[in-house]
């Protein structure tokens, strides 16, 4: 089945076969990262712009390394998130970049739908590296890759995702990705952090951490933004940690061989205790390592798709 995506904007729009193809491709690329010469000429002559309107170290670095290992020229641009403040519209910013003929724009933006917006207006390929609270496809793919690596397959697994679901793009992409691959996804968090209609995305909704992780094969903890403390969603990080933090006690509710994932960056002592974060079940650094391979696969598949229109 041919999979020549022009863009990677959402997981929602991918088929299970597409996701598996991406993961298989990533497996081939993963080997490069262990070589002495960690570089292949695959995307020689391609220009990739990492257009980040929102601070990000992990994702940007991961995409940058992925691009460089494929021999593409990668350029990082950190733009002001607020086009209003900057006095330039998103369209203008993007068109200015496109005038320099990049082949792929990897984009992170604080507004949901911003990548969709650019994809509708520009000729080059767009890879969504996180748009607002909408989707974060490469994160979900690297999570799936990591789960597959440890569990052999995804179908039949139970994956619990705990945290601020309302404000998480990681959750949305993960729900689509994992359920398409046949897993059962449970999400949990305080009700203030669970938006309405979540079930319609295909997951189970739990209001306690213990019920969500009981018997789970995988537990994914989401980062709690420190700035949410003391506002209307949670009274304090202390209380959050007590009821929704993963620790050496409550993790026993999950299967003995359950793995623990975290998209990072972690708040140790809040959503995850250090003993779990550094414990035997954690696969957090595998996620980071696999992130490069998955992003290499995405860059390769997008660049290798149909020829970019000549202008």
């Amino acid at each position: 089945m041919a999979f020549n995506p022009k863009h990677i904007l959402t997981i929602r729009d991918l088929r299970a076969a597409d996701i598996n193809f991406i993961l298989d491709t990533a497996l081939s690329f993963k080997e490069i990262n262990t070589r002495q010469i960690k570089k292949v000429p695959t995307l020689r002559g391609k220009t990739i712009v990492n257009l980040f309107f929102e601070a990000s170290t992990r994702t940007r670095t991961s995409f940058e390394i992925a691009g460089k290992r494929l021999s593409a020229d990668t350029i990082n641009i950190s733009a002001s998130s607020s086009s209003v403040v900057k006095g330039e519209t998103l369209e203008d910013t993007a068109q200015n970049i496109e005038a320099m003929h990049p082949d792929i724009i990897v984009m992170r933006h604080s507004a949901s739908g911003a990548c969709d917006y650019l994809a509708k207006r520009l000729k080059c390929s767009i890879i969504n590296a996180g748009d607002g609270t909408h989707e974060h496809p490469s994160q979900a793919l690297l999570d799936a890759f990591t789960i597959r690596q440890h569990k052999g397959q995804i179908a039949g697994l139970t994956v619990a995702i705990v945290g601020d679901v309302t404000h998480s793009r990681v959750v949305r992409s993960n729900i689509y990705c994992l359920t398409k691959l046949g897993a059962t996804v449970r999400v949990a968090g305080p009700r203030t952090m669970l938006p309405p209609g979540l079930e319609k995305l295909g997951c189970e909704v739990h209001s306690s951490l213990s019920s969500a992780i009981s018997g789970a094969d995988c537990v994914m903890m989401l980062r709690i933004q420190r700035e949410r403390q003391g506002k209307t969603l949670i009274p304090s990080l202390r209380e959050y940690a007590r009821f929704f933090g993963l620790n050496t006690e409550n993790i026993k509710l999950a299967k003995d061989d359950a793995i623990v994932l975290h998209p990072g960056p972690m708040n140790r002592g809040v959503e995850i205790s250090s003993f779990v974060a550094d414990g035997p079940q954690n696969v957090i650094l595998d996620q980071v390592e696999n992130g490069v391979a998955v992003r290499m696969a995405l860059l390769y598949l997008v660049a290798g798709g149909e020829q970019l229109p000549k202008d």
């Binding site: 998103l90 969709d116 949305r172």
Partner: protein, 423 residues
């Protein structure tokens, strides 16, 4: 000069007319309505196959004049009205400056009279500068010609101020038009809170933000005994609140917009900024409730909330796009669709667009009795056309209905006997 409109199907709900009548106009007034009129000295307009109705009345329009003329002005806005069969509009005060003083009311009335293609009835602000702090000079504003008071778009937060606004406006016999929303519940929401918002990762505006505020306004109206008109009801709960209030005798009326009885929040998919408005598009059950409210009389008028915005204000990320859509030129076909859908009959539809809104703002329009001003719409209810936003008369093209196949259009609009559309 006399004009004789012959062979039309006259629908004038105010006067219980629904049938084949001729109508004679002289000196801008209706001088005769009879099954058949012979007037050799009159210019004859053949209205065979057409509906002849009072000119439509839209009591919720943003003309953006003064101050925001790059979006719309009184000239372009009233041309859009005429093209949509609308001859009278009430315009909202959220201009720059805000319509909170008599000279500004006079400016609008005069500019409309001299250069406009429709009657314009200003709605003045409840509070000075629409800041929600001090009452506007309602007595002077009313004397200058405003028909109602509203802080539309910026709901009055203070219960005390709103109470006094009801009482004070009642002193001068004008209704309060409420944009009912609890802003603390709206937060920075940008679409209806629900499945679609969850999926798109957009901040939601819960229905309770509107219902809670509507309930407060109704309570205040009930308490003060003053008149309340609830603007653009969009939720099932609001409709029900108004229904119950009416049943116990509260002086409350309300309006619904064509987009709220036509579209749901599904229209936002694809981050379509032309589906972004306030109140937001809701769910199917809300749409059904609004349709039921139109049918059972709970909802008194259809009004567009015509809210022109420049291309640049919509061609941005969804979260920062401005709220609102233009509506004057799609009002008629979308309302006629309700008739075709069997929601309301034709007479009720015309009433919702003419005499009922006229009563709410207390103007002597929306009727074709002998002696009335000859504001008339000639409507081909079956005319099929495709909406091309770029061809709208409005300066702004922000409509979610671009490219839609529509049915029904005003083929001719007369303002005091003069043809203002087609131009």
């Amino acid at each position: 000069m006399k004009i004789l409109i012959k062979n039309g199907h006259l629908v004038d709900p105010k006067n219980n007319i629904d049938g084949q009548f001729d109508l004679l106009i002289d000196q801008g007034k209706v001088v005769a309505v009879e099954p058949s009129i012979n007037a050799p000295d009159a210019e004859v307009v053949d209205a065979s196959g057409l509906l002849v109705t009072p000119g439509l009345i839209d009591i919720h329009v943003h003309l953006r004049d003064p101050g925001l003329e790059y979006k719309e002005d009184i000239i372009s806005g009233t041309r859009a009205a005429a093209a949509g069969g609308v001859t009278s509009i009430a315009c909202m005060p959220n201009t720059k400056p805000v319509i909170d003083s008599a000279p500004l009311v006079e400016y609008i009335i005069n500019k409309a009279k001299n250069q406009g293609s429709a009657n314009v009835f200003p709605v003045a602000a409840i509070s000075q500068g629409m800041k929600g702090e001090v009452l506007a000079e309602m007595g002077e504003l009313k004397a200058a010609g405003c028909v109602a008071f509203s802080d539309d778009g910026v709901p009055v937060v203070s219960g005390e101020l709103m109470r006094r606004a009801f009482e004070y406006a009642d002193t001068f016999g004008a209704p309060i038009i409420s944009h009912a929303e609890d802003l603390s519940l709206v937060g920075d929401g940008c679409m209806n809170e629900g499945e679609v918002a969850t999926e798109l990762g957009l901040k939601g505006i819960p229905w309770v933000a509107e219902d809670a505020a509507t309930a407060r306004e109704i309570m205040l109206a009930e308490f003060t005994g003053a008149r309340l008109h609830v603007a653009h009801v969009s939720t099932k709960g609001s409709v029900e609140l108004v229904r119950q209030a009416k049943a116990r005798g509260v002086k409350v009326t309300c309006e619904a917009t064509p987009h709220h009885f036509t579209l749901t929040d599904e229209a936002v998919r694809g981050y379509n900024t032309n589906a972004k408005m306030n109140p937001p598009l809701r769910t199917r059950s809300d749409v059904d409730a609004i349709r039921a409210g139109l049918a059972d009389g709970t909802i008194d008028a259809i009004a567009t909330d015509h809210a022109p915005h420049h291309y640049d204000e919509k061609n941005v990320e969804f979260a920062i796009a401005l709220n609102g859509i233009v509506g004057l030129e799609t009002l008629l076909p979308l309302t006629l669709q309700l008739v075709r859908d069997g929601v309301i009959d034709l007479v009720r539809a015309v009433a919702l667009l003419t005499c009922r809104p006229a009563e709410i703002i207390g103007i002597d329009r929306g009727s074709l009795e002998v002696g009335a001003v000859a504001d008339i719409a000639l409507i081909d209810p079956e005319l099929e056309w495709t909406l091309d936003a770029q061809k709208l008369q409005s300066k702004s093209k922000n409509t979610p209905f671009d490219g839609w196949q529509l049915r029904g259009a005003a083929v001719q609009t007369l303002l005091a006997g003069c043809t203002v559309h087609p131009r």
